[in-house]
Amino acid sequence: MSPTALELAAAVRTAERSARDAVAASIEAIAAGDGAIHAFVEVLADRALARAEQIDAAVAAGSDPGPLAGVPVALKDNLCTRGVPTTCASRILGTWCPPYDATVVERLERAGAVVVGKTNMDEFAMGSSTENSCFGPTRNPRDHARVPGGSSGGSAAAVAAGFVPLALGSDTGGSIRQPAAFCGVVGVKPTYGLVSRYGLVAFASSLDQIGPFAATVADAAAALAAIAGHDERDSTSLSDPVPELAAAVGRGVLGRRIGVVKELVDGVDRPVAARAREAAEAMAAAGATVEEVSIPQLRYGLAAYYLLAPAEASSNLARFDGVRYGLRVDAPDASAMNVATRTEGFGAEVKRRIMLGTYALSAGYYDAYYARAQRVRTLVAQGFGRAFATFDALLGATTPTTAFALAERTENPLAMYLSDTCTVPASLAGIPAISVPFGADPAGLPVGVQVMAPALGESTLFAVAGALERAAPPERRP
């Protein structure tokens, strides 16, 4: 059993184990096992080992390299890394090397973590299976014939396979929580604005949030603590104090009011619903007051999301025009060059979303689609607001099914989108949510249970998640 991130950091900080050894072990595990999984699109062995040696030197000199000292981490390849290709799994970015690091990368490194590689993803984070990648799909470490979920499937798989104890992903409509559930790891989407988006290649700016994957809730809390907090380079980053995270994990749920969201349990596959109900019973047994709550507005979240997110994407992705970075396909004039570059550079799903968004924003359809979806977003947020007047936290399934087979949904985009139905509502409302592994389906595939809390309610979120982890049926952790 691989050590957790916190165990590893404790060993490195006390010189019980060298960071170099920890990082080398991670790189060897990737070399031995990633051929079958394809979680990584780039492994940064030399850079990581050099960085690990600096950490060991710091420990030897008597200084503390930080709470994540020597912990190998993987980054979704839409997080900018200075001088290291950042592809978004798209041909259009080619071999682009950002001239700066994302804030989260700076902060992880400042906490002592060591970046060992960049992970595979759906192109520009658009997808729910990591099959929309110009590098080819990632496989679920729990069953290689199945998808790891997406869009942060590479990061989820890297943790599930035991290659790294921590990874970062981005979540726009479920892209951290859904793959976490499919792969049997913990995945966190923080409150919108808790983590800086500076250096995250934008998909849908009013929804995108960066968050961690880990094998344990405590590791996820430690990773979030390292990256959270105000950043003046992201004007949407909150200046509120970061909620207490690490201390919350062991706090328990005694006296907490937890609502089981009918709409996030009733409509999902039977084994997933059964695990979610068992999780609710476990919280009652742990001392929480547990009741069912209906939030009927959530049913409309998915339809609103699949108009709003593509609309924002169509605007954000206008920047890929062959002028300043990435691919250029030559043509006699600038306009033809833009068209040729975008036509060759973007994959099918990205083209679909751009066109869908362009349509939803276009004259004659704006009110029927985009403006109406924005008002439905208000309804979803109000629905959560009413529920949080009664409950401290809400609980439901993370996904309607367990991991599906590779190629099962690639020809039917709408079937793929339905995979996000349980995760999208929290994204629309901007509230924090976490997926915690809780047992398996009859085929042995992991099931994730989702907890949601009010904005900046991460302390409650982690208290409930910690209690769920302690109550979960044994298995887990590679």
Binding site: A348, I354, T358, D367, Y369, R375, L414, L428
Partner: protein, 110 residues
């Protein structure tokens, strides 16, 4: 952006190939005939699904563009070092005299 106009046609027409071609043009994408047919079917399926939003009464609701109560965010007006010009230009497909370079912008027939 017309707040009064909140009662759209409850069943907007499903998208057809002509509209998909128009939208692709707006988005600077070129579609083959095969792609046009495939995307039209797929986009129509998504828009049909989205038509369920027409069931809801959204009269009087504020549109939500963002989860945060948005205000202008200002920083102190102090100059600070920008990204390094040479590092930025190094990533461009074509550069001339320290500038991004593109093919001609005006076509001959103008």
């Amino acid at each position: 952006m017309t707040p009064g106009d909140t009662r759209p046609d409850p069943r907007p027409p499903a998208i057809g190939p002509e509209q998909v071609r128009h939208v692709a043009r707006l988005a600077r994408l070129r579609l083959s005939d095969e792609e046009l047919a495939r995307f039209t079917g797929q986009l129509a399926a998504v828009l049909d699904y989205a038509a369920e939003l027409a069931e809801l009464d959204v009269e009087g609701l504020e549109p939500m563009a963002h989860p945060l109560p948005l205000r202008n965010v200002l920083r102190s007006d102090e100059p600070r070092p920008p990204l390094r010009r040479d590092e930025v230009l190094e990533q461009a497909p074509a550069v001339e005299d320290g500038c991004f370079c593109v093919p001609r912008i005006l076509s001959g027939e103008g």
